[in-house]
C-alpha cells in the first residue's frame, strides 16, 4: 500500500516554478533518500508532503488524505506525519521533556503518566535522559536534533520527513544524529523520506534514492544500483562531485 | 537605579522655587499701562454675551469685552489700546498673578475667598446664579435638585454654591462652558448651573433649553486686579462710574442683553 502519491504535482512561488510535474509513489515501510544540488526542490517537495507548502496543480495523497483538496484537515494528517527540521525548531519556552510531551498531551490526549513514561523512554533511546529538564538553549545542536527526533516519535507517526537533519550541525555532532535516524528507520518499520547531503549515510540507510534537479525528479532507483552507477549523466556528475569532496 | 532617587526631591524643589519668586506685585500696573498706552485684559472666550471668540475674525466679543474697551478709553484716553487674552475660569487667577494680564474682566464674581488673594473693583454687573435645563425637565428650582446631577465648570464658585443649596445633588465639574453644555445635551447631568447672564447666553445658542428658578445667589461681577494695585482699582471704579453717568453703561447692557428672551435687562440699568 502506498503512503505517498504525487500525481503531476506543480508548485509555484509566484512565477518561480519550484516543482515540475512530480510523479512519485512511496510505499509503506520504505526508506527513501532524496538527493540533489541545492535549490533543486528537495526541501520544497518534502514540505508539501505535510502541507507546510501548498501545491498549485496535480494530486497529492498522503496516508489516505488528499492534500490537493482544501477541505482536508491538515492537523489530522500531521499527527501521523512527523517532521525533523534542519534547524530543529524545538520550543524555546519549554524544557526538553515538555518539548516531547506537549503534542501527545494536547493533540492525542494521551494520559499524563503514560505520556511521561513514553517521553522518558524516548529520551533514553536518543541518549539524553539526564537532559530532560534542561531548556533547549542549554544543549548542543546535535542534542537538540535528537530531542527533535524524540519529539516526532512521541506522536507515533506512520511517516517521518527529515529535511536536511544534519546540515546545521558541527561535523562531530553529525554522527550521533545519523545513528539515531538509522536506529529509528531500521527498527520501527516506519516510512521515511530523508533529504540529506550525507552520501555514506544515504547509502547505508536508504532502500531507494531519488535524485532531483531544477524542480524535477531526474532519477528514481533502488539504493544499490544508484550508488553503483547512476543512470543519468546529471546524477553521475553530482555524485562524483560530492564524493570527491 | 540609586541615581534616580535624588531626582525627585530636586524636581520638587525647583518647582516650588519657581512658584515662590515673583515680582509682579511690586510694579504699578497703572503706571506701566500709561507708559505703554495699553491695558492687557483677561476675558472669556467661550461665554456668549460676555466674552466669546467670533470664529470669523478670531476676536473676543461680548459685554465684558466692550466694558474693557470703554474702561481702557476712560483710563488711558481715546488713543488707549485694549489687548485681550482668552482665559478660562480655571486659568484667569494664575494668569493675573503671573502678570500675563493686567486685569481680568471675565464673568468673575466678587467672593471673600478670592478677595484673600486678589483685589476687585466695585461690581460692574449684578448677576445671580441660576439653572439651565431642557425645556421638558421636571426641575423647577433648586429645591428639585437633590438626587440629581448638576453640571458646573471648574474654577467657578457656582459649584460650591450648589452644594450649599442642594447638599444631596451630585456635582460634576467640566473644563469650560462649551463642554458643560455638551455634557448637558448628552444627559451627563440634569441641569447646568452658573450665573444667569452666562446661562441666558447658552439658552440663546441652544433652543430647547431654558433658564429656570430665578437667581438663588447674588453674584456681583468685578474687575480683578492684583493685590496692592490700588491706583488701578480706583481708576477702574472711576471709569465705570463715569460710564453709568453718561449712559454708556446702559447702552452696552441694551446692546448685549436687549434681545435675550426672558431676560429682564432693564433691571440691570444703572444711573
Amino acid at each position: 500500500m502506498s503512503m505517498i502519491e504525487f500525481h503531476n504535482v506543480q508548485k509555484f512561488y509566484g512565477h518561480f516554478h519550484a516543482l515540475h510535474d512530480i510523479n512519485l509513489e512511496i510505499d509503506q515501510g520504505e526508506t527513501v533518500v532524496l538527493i540533489g544540488p541545492s535549490g533543486s526542490g528537495k526541501s520544497t517537495l518534502v514540505r508539501t508532503v505535510n502541507g507546510l507548502e501548498s501545491i498549485q496543480k496535480g494530486k497529492l495523497i498522503v496516508n489516505g488524505h488528499d492534500l490537493s483538496d482544501p477541505k482536508t484537515n491538515l492537523n489530522i494528517l500531521r499527527s501521523d506525519v512527523g517532521m525533523v527540521f534542519q534547524h530543529f525548531n524545538l520550543y524555546k519556552n519549554k524544557d526538553v521533556l515538555e518539548n516531547i510531551m506537549l503534542a501527545p498531551r494536547i493533540v492525542s490526549h494521551i494520559p499524563e503518566e503514560e505520556n511521561k513514561k513514553q517521553a522518558l523512554d524516548l529520551l533514553d533511546m536518543v541518549g539524553l535522559r539526564k537532559w530532560a529538564h534542561n531548556m533547549p538553549s542549554q544543549i548542543s545542536g546535535g542534542q537538540k536534533q535528537r530531542v527533535a527526533i524524540a519529539r516526532t516519535l512521541a506522536m507515533k507517526p506512520k511517516l517521518i520527513l527529515y529535511d536536511e537533519p544534519t546540515s546545521a550541525l558541527d561535523p562531530e555532532m553529525i554522527d550521533d544524529v545519523l545513528q539515531v535516524i538509522k536506529k529509528v528507520t531500521n527498527e520501527s518499520g516506519m516510512t521515511s523520506l530523508i533529504v540529506t547531503h550525507e552520501m555514506g549515510f544515504a547509502k547505508e540507510v536508504a532502500n531507494r534514492v531519488i535524485f532531483m534537479d531544477q524542480g524535477r525528479i531526474v532519477e528514481d532507483d533502488d539504493s544499490e544500483s544508484f550508488f553503483k552507477q547512476p543512470k543519468t549523466e546529471r546524477a553521475q556528475q553530482f555524485l562524483s562531485k560530492i564524493i570527491s569532496h | 537605579m540609586k541615581k534616580k532617587f535624588w531626582l525627585l526631591p530636586l524636581l520638587a524643589c525647583i518647582l516650588m522655587l519657581t512658584g515662590c519668586g515673583k515680582s509682579v506685585n511690586d510694579q504699578s500696573v497703572l503706571k506701566n499701562a500709561k507708559q505703554s498706552n495699553t491695558i492687557v485684559w483677561g476675558v472669556k472666550g467661550d461665554v456668549k454675551l460676555f466674552g466669546l471668540i467670533d470664529v470669523r475674525d478670531g476676536q473676543q466679543k461680548g459685554f465684558d469685552v466692550d466694558m474693557a474697551k470703554h474702561i481702557t478709553k476712560h483710563i488711558l484716553g481715546p488713543q488707549g489700546k485694549a489687548e485681550f487674552v482668552t482665559t478660562t475660569s480655571q486659568s484667569r487667577i494664575p494668569l493675573l498673578k503671573n502678570g500675563n494680564v493686567d486685569a481680568v474682566i471675565a464673568t468673575m464674581s466678587i467672593t471673600p475667598e478670592r478677595k484673600k488673594i486678589i483685589s476687585f473693583s466695585k461690581s460692574y454687573f449684578d448677576a445671580g446664579q441660576s439653572l439651565l435645563v431642557p425645556k421638558n425637565s421636571s426641575i423647577k428650582s433648586t429645591k428639585d435638585l437633590n438626587g440629581k446631577t448638576v453640571i458646573g465648570v471648574v474654577g467657578a464658585n457656582s459649584v460650591a454654591n450648589i452644594k450649599k443649596v442642594a447638599p444631596k445633588a451630585k456635582v460634576i465639574e467640566l473644563q469650560d462652558y462649551a463642554q458643560a453644555m455638551n455634557a448637558l445635551k448628552s444627559h451627563q447631568g440634569d441641569a447646568l448651573t452658573t450665573d444667569n447672564g452666562i446661562l441666558f447666553g447658552l439658552a440663546v445658542q441652544n433652543p430647547g433649553y431654558e433658564v429656570r428658578g430665578g437667581t438663588f445667589t447674588v453674584e456681583p461681577y468685578g474687575v480683578a486686579v492684583n493685590k496692592g494695585q490700588t491706583s488701578f482699582t480706583e481708576a477702574v471704579d472711576k471709569a465705570v462710574l463715569e460710564m453709568q453717568h453718561n449712559g454708556e453703561y446702559n447702552r452696552l447692557i441694551k446692546k448685549w442683553f436687549g434681545d435675550v428672551p426672558g431676560f429682564k435687562y432693564k433691571e440691570l440699568y444703572r444711573r
Partner: protein, 212 residues
C-alpha cells in the same frame, strides 16, 4: 505642598482611587483587546489582517481625548448613557489597546517562523501553537515595552479630568481652583502619580533583568 495634601487628603485619595481603578480596568481590557487585535494582524486570513490593522491605525492615530469625548458626549446622545468615569476608562482602554496590539504583534513576529512550523508539524492547530508556543515567547519579548505602555496608561488616565471622572487630575483642577494655589496643587498630584508609576517602572526593569 504638605498643607495642600493635609487639607485635601481625602479628596486626593479619592482621586487616586479612581485613577488606580480606571488604570487597572483599562489595563486588563486593553491587554485582552490588544492581544486579540495583535493576533488578528498576524493571521493568515487577509480580511482579518486588514480589520486588525485598521483598528490599530484608527485607535492610535486619534487623540485619546477625542475618543473619550466621543464616548462621553456622542454615545450617550444616541446609544446609551455612560458617565464620565466609564467614558474615560473606555477611551483609555481602546486607545491603549492599539499600542498594546502593536507591541504584541511585533513580539509575535519576532518569534521565528520555525517555532510555528515545529508546532504545526506535530499536529497542533494554529490556535494551540499560538497559545502554547508563540504567545508565551512573544509576551516574554514584549515585557519591557509593555511596561512602558502601562506607565503611559496611568499617565493618560488624566483624560478622566476632562469628562468629570473624579480622578487625580480632576481633583487637582478642583483644588487648584478653590485654593488658587495652582503650583502646589499640581505638585501634589504629580507626586501622587509618581507614587503609582515609579513602582511599575522599577518592577518592569527588575523583570526585564530577571528575564534577560
Amino acid at each position: 505642598m504638605i498643607n495642600i495634601f493635609a487639607k485635601f487628603s481625602s479628596q486626593l485619595l479619592v482621586g487616586l482611587g479612581w485613577t488606580v481603578l480606571s488604570s487597572i480596568i483599562a489595563l486588563f481590557f486593553s491587554l485582552i483587546i490588544g492581544t486579540i487585535f495583535a493576533i488578528m494582524e498576524v493571521l493568515p486570513s487577509k480580511v482579518m489582517r486588514v480589520i486588525g490593522h485598521a483598528y490599530v491605525e484608527i485607535m492610535r492615530n486619534i487623540p485619546l481625548l477625542v475618543i473619550t469625548m466621543f464616548f462621553y458626549l456622542v454615545i450617550p446622545m444616541y446609544v446609551v448613557k455612560i458617565n464620565g468615569f466609564t467614558a474615560g476608562t473606555i477611551g483609555l482602554t481602546l486607545y491603549t489597546s492599539a499600542f498594546i496590539a502593536e507591541t504584541i504583534r511585533s513580539g509575535i513576529q519576532s518569534v521565528s517562523n520555525g517555532q510555528m512550523e515545529g508546532a504545526r508539524s506535530t499536529g497542533m492547530t494554529y490556535w494551540q501553537a499560538m497559545r502554547y508556543i508563540i504567545l508565551p515567547q512573544a509576551f516574554k519579548i514584549v515585557i519591557p515595552p509593555l511596561g512602558n505602555q502601562f506607565v503611559n496608561l496611568v499617565k493618560n488616565s488624566s483624560v478622566l479630568a476632562f469628562v468629570a471622572g473624579f480622578d487625580l487630575m480632576y481633583q487637582a483642577n478642583s483644588i487648584a481652583s478653590t485654593t488658587f494655589d495652582t503650583i502646589n496643587s499640581y505638585l501634589v498630584v504629580g507626586v501622587l502619580y509618581l507614587i503609582v508609576t515609579l513602582p511599575i517602572s522599577y518592577y518592569m526593569r527588575h523583570l526585564e533583568k530577571k528575564l534577560g
